[in-house]
Symmetry: C2
Subunit: 199 residues, 2 copies
């Protein structure tokens, strides 16, 4: 286990306090997923220059902080915080990232834009993603409990070339949605056009 | 061959004159494709109530009228006609529909919005498509020279349920683009979300 000691640069809570807040808000299976994503993101980050492990730990731990928030509350926050009204046409899968970041900023007093953007982008990515955002996006996809045919390959790919793993994840998630006639958010296509096309 | 006599309601030219204009602007293989799309759209239209065969003939014949226009001219029309500047990020595949409709309106004096919209939408569809637009979109996909594994099935589907053929075409075109790492226009996803998801 990689345990990062927080300096209060990004968050007024210690890691233990943040973990307690997370645990209080999530069912145990999802809480454990968040810790696995944190550990996976930290492992991937160790290979990379200029990454702040404290930022990685916070963003990865909190990426699903709002996953069990009610639809009514998300719709309320969209209205109160004057977010894009088109968001109301989507559901929990989109809201827990973009709207979740607002809730996290509010409840946990996190103001660091790098962390909040990584959380916003963890569901459908973005044409431009920081290394921090890529780490959360990919760690969420390959954490140890994930199980899909090529997962071992993608774990190796993520260690060798994080951007290539972003590309793989983007393409295969879209392919899954398309095969199953599930809604695709326009930003997922913007991510695909930037990270997959011509790569 | 289904030959529609024009009444000048939509176009100042006779069908023969329009065909001559089309032929002058296209290589022979593409001109012949346009005539096949017209015939296919007219055949499909014969099953449907409240469809104006003259409108179908014009829209289907002209759908690729601008397909061999130069990139420079398309870029010029985007600028002159104040079209969405994001169009400049795309290429002939998108331009010959959306920008092509402007060229058709200008050169052939076609002002009927039903016809121009069907031409605009024939490449990536739209969440809401008129029956006319669906006819051009589907006929372009299943005209007799098209050849893909399920083409016979889709031809039968198009006769039985035009909307189901729109759905099939939308999903399978996206699947082809995704498999081949080709750019996907956001409107193709809007079409997918409207015509495929939950259908």
């Amino acid at each position: 286990m990689i345990e990062v000691t927080y300096t209060n640069k990004y968050c007024q809570f210690s890691r233990a306090e943040l973990v307690a807040r997370l645990q209080a808000n999530l069912s145990s299976h999802r809480f454990e997923h968040c810790v696995r994503v944190e550990q996976t993101a930290l492992q991937l980050a160790q290979n990379l220059p200029n990454v702040d492990l404290e930022q990685v730990s916070i963003a990865a731990l909190l990426h699903d902080y709002a996953k069990e928030v009610s639809d009514d509350r998300f719709l309320e926050v969209i209205k109160t915080n004057h977010l894009d009204p088109d968001l109301t046409n989507w559901g929990n899968f989109i809201w827990h990232g973009v709207v979740g970041a607002e809730i996290i900023a509010d409840e946990l007093k996190i103001t660091d834009d790098g962390i909040l953007t990584a959380i916003r982008q963890h569901t459908v990515g973005a044409p431009k993603m920081s290394v921090l955002a890529q780490l959360v996006y990919v760690a969420d996809y390959v954490e140890p409990a994930r199980n899909f045919p090529d997962v071992t390959y993608v774990r190796t790919l993520a260690q060798a070339d994080l951007g290539a793993a972003v590309s793989y994840e983007t393409k295969h998630t879209l392919s899954y949605l398309l095969t199953n006639n599930k809604a695709i958010h326009p930003q997922a296509i913007a991510t695909y056009n930037a990270w997959v096309v011509g790569r």
